[in-house]
Symmetry: C2
Subunit: 303 residues, 2 copies
């Protein structure tokens, strides 16, 4: 005799949280496997006003010099100043999300960032935000194409307008104005994505799920490329641009610090070692100059 499937309604907020937490676990495991030496530690924290998170950081790995993969789920009363900044009405809120930044040791392996979150208010307003973007020090076009193509496939399966729109948004968002450069070769970025919440969640699951496939093949391909002091210096200087972007322009960072977010979890995004030299310019026609060309003129990597 066949039994009717029993379906228990679980709130979207809980399903999002669960998705992000499982994704965190999967990503950490995949990164540990590639690294082969170091493991992620676990730092569980609570927020006095409600909620908490799990910050997972790997430092001094063989492949990954510093990698942070965080989840957090926060709820409470939204301060008026924040509501104004977010252009929403005040009230109680709930937010759950995953945020990661990976800084490989080798200058031949790009840094990557991804962040996905679900935001809900007591008046029923709810939206998703997030994205993922790549920051190479020595760019290989085929890697950039593979990263973008993987994201595009995940986007296209849901809505053909997503990739071109979110790709462009990413280039605009990760722009370091005082340098006239993008932070990296982009990816996707979106915020306040409302509409059919189930459909949007399904899209967010897809782009979250492909994170590993978008990035780890690039790592495996480039982690054995040779490099020396020259490349290391360039990487440390470029990491300085990453810091400049995150501390000056990144809304997640500045907003998080302003509103009393957990400093160490927010700033886990900063690179392990960074250099600032005065007016360092790459030689003409060098690989370093080529990176700057790309960062000054965002390109279409997949069509």
């Amino acid at each position: 005799m066949q039994q009717a499937a029993t379906r228990i309604a679980i709130a979207l907020s809980e399903r999002c949280r669960s998705f992000f937490e499982i994704l965190q676990q999967r990503i950490c495991t995949a990164l540990e496997e590639v690294d082969g030496v170091q493991r992620f530690n676990e730092d569980r924290w609570e927020r006095a006003e409600g909620g908490g998170g799990l910050t997972r950081v790997m430092e001094n790995g063989a492949v990954f010099e510093k990698a942070g993969v965080n989840t957090s789920t926060i709820s409470g009363m939204m301060p008026e100043v924040i509501a104004r900044k977010m252009n929403v009405t005040p009230g109680t809120f709930f937010v759950t999300g995953i945020s990661l930044v990976i800084h490989p040791r080798s200058p031949m392996v790009p840094t990557v960032h991804a962040n996905y979150r679900y935001f809900e208010k007591d008046d029923g307003d709810a939206w998703f935000g997030g994205g993922s973007d790549l920051t190479p020090y020595y760019p290989f076009d085929e890697d950039t194409v593979q990263f973008h193509a993987t994201l595009k496939r995940a986007c296209d399966a849901h809505e053909p307008s997503y990739y071109p729109r979110f790709k462009r948004w990413c280039d605009e968002y990760f722009f370091i104005k005082h340098r006239g450069e993008t932070r990296g070769v982009g990816g996707i970025f979106f915020d306040y994505l409302r509409g059919d919440a189930e459909k949007v969640f399904s899209f967010v699951q897809s782009v979250g799920d492909v994170f590993i496939d978008s990035y780890l093949p690039v790592v495996r391909k480039r982690m054995h490329e040779p490099w020396g002091e020259h490349e290391r210096n360039w990487q440390l200087i470029r990491r300085g641009r990453y810091v400049e972007f995150n501390l000056i322009y990144d809304r997640g960072t500045t907003f998080g610090l302003e509103t009393g977010g957990r400093t160490e979890s927010i700033l886990m995004s900063l690179p392990p070692l960074v250099q600032w030299r005065y007016d360092m310019q790459p030689e003409n026609d060098s690989r370093e100059a080529r990176l700057l060309e790309i960062l000054k003129h965002p390109q279409e990597w997949v069509r």
Copy 2:
């Protein structure tokens, strides 16, 4: 036969500029003498809209890992957005100033910052701003006292209320909110100092003139203190706080970058090499813990 002294009136703006440029020269020479190995380069630049500057940077010295001593003199039309931020009426403006940040190699020698400037508007409004502050990695009370006492003497010669007022302003200004710490052990800070311009200029000359005496004795005393990898790591981590303050809170930096200032001259303040580790806490009762105690509880160093 005695000749009457011939006095030619020279505008205050020109005398300020001249004072700052000569001070720059004197400070660079004094620093080169202490360093003994490396010299300052000279980078003269012009601003399309009017004015320019001389950026002088020493990198990889024996004593000074990176030191920048800049002067600039800018004039032109003040954009409305800037006038609003500065709480003054728009119009043409003139500003001349000196700005320096010195990052020694040894963790036993503190970083120092000083900046003095004269601002003038076409409607006759004019003021001085500036200050000088010390950022040790391993604090020696007698050094901090000597630094503060030197500044206090220079202040007291002009106006007894200056030192206590500007010392407190400095502690308030150089506060890293998300860390609950001051950037260093302070010094003096003041802005929009109006009044009898000749008197204020005379005060600014005094505090500018004592810069060398406030700092170089500390350098000479500590440059031969022993240190190793442990102290170096702590210095690199603390330098991260310096970056956090400058890029997130420092008005000179954020304002300069926003208004199209010369990026490389503004960011010469950033340390040569910086480290960010996850949630690094010093051991109880260590010298590192003592630094944090001081930074969390600003003290009166001279009375």
